[in-house]
Subunit: 195 residues, 2 copies
Amino acid sequence: MNASTARSTRNAREQVLDAAIRLFTQQGYFNTSIPDIVRESGISTGSIYHHFGDKEGIARALFESLVARMERAFDAIDREHATARERCRAVIELLFRITEDEPEVMSYMLFVKHREFMPEMAPVCSSRPFRHMREMVERGMATGEVRSMDPMVAAAAVFGGALRLINLRLDGILERPLGDYLDEIWDCAWRSVSA
Amino acid sequence: MNASTARSTRNAREQVLDAAIRLFTQQGYFNTSIPDIVRESGISTGSIYHHFGDKEGIARALFESLVARMERAFDAIDREHATARERCRAVIELLFRITEDEPEVMSYMLFVKHREFMPEMAPVCSSRPFRHMREMVERGMATGEVRSMDPMVAAAAVFGGALRLINLRLDGILERPLGDYLDEIWDCAWRSVSA
DNA sequence: TTGACTAAAACGAATGTTCGTTCTAATCTT
DNA sequence: AAGATTAGAACGAACATTCGTTTTAGTCAA
């Protein structure tokens, strides 16, 4: 039936995407060959090209699904919290949680340099998530929660430390899970911009 | 004479390195072919292999010269400043200055993923510079300049915002030069950890 | 319920190209 | 002259992609 057809096609796609995000983040996009993906996903070359068109299509599909997921998560945070303070903290908690539970997801967004093979996506990739963060801080400035300053600098101050910890964690330099550092880094972050 | 020989060999090496850092940061390591480097540097294939052994050797030489340069700069900062506060600010000033004057240098260190082709260098690449920063903060904690907390978190708080601004600037999202943001981000950074 | 028909999906061997590297000859430098 | 350096053509391996075929799933007539 329709359901079973849909399920089967989604499976092939998702098996490829699962294998690809793992391989791309472990060995890099250019070090990952189509045969690698065939081996790791169990899906054949022909099928892969049927679903994604070309190798870049796999990376693009991955990227788009992660961007969409981030957008939804940010919107949910906006809805569920009333103050800039709560929202910013929730964003950091979210990013920490993703880093611990699905490190490949965070690695893919931070490390895979789309600039190198999808130049037109580079600005989207780097600026879109940070724009959300900047807007959050900016609205906090309007309500007086955040002291008055350049909103870009304020956003960098609030989220820069946490993002740095995420980088260190993914590089294997932090041995304890990010949650252990949450209160301390949040204290630093908010202290640096609170009115 | 020695001088002219030295000059000529250094020229070939440096012409290759100049072309390589430009190409690697613009299009990525794997998108840059040896013929690309030959074209851009004006040095022939044979010469390149004579000087660097293989393609990775070019990246390694670049990396090593930049690491050495960073080490020297950090040591100089340690020598020329007495307090953690002054040292940390000097580091941020240094990184901002390099980003503005030689963006390829900063791009190469931040963006070129050595993990993908020099796995053994990845830890050096990511941890070494940050270890200096952590030690700076740690010594400031010993003297009471910096409030007591996990030194890794404190270092992330002090330098995270500035590093974020550097990323944004290299991505073309900040239109004004980094110097314009120095005082504000430094105020945030130090406020977040000062005793 | 069966069995022919259709369309989508999966397959994997074959192809043409690109790339890093090697090799041999030529050219400087001292 | 001799050693270091440069040159660029040639090589072989690895890669992304294509294509003709097979399999699977859904539809519908009788």
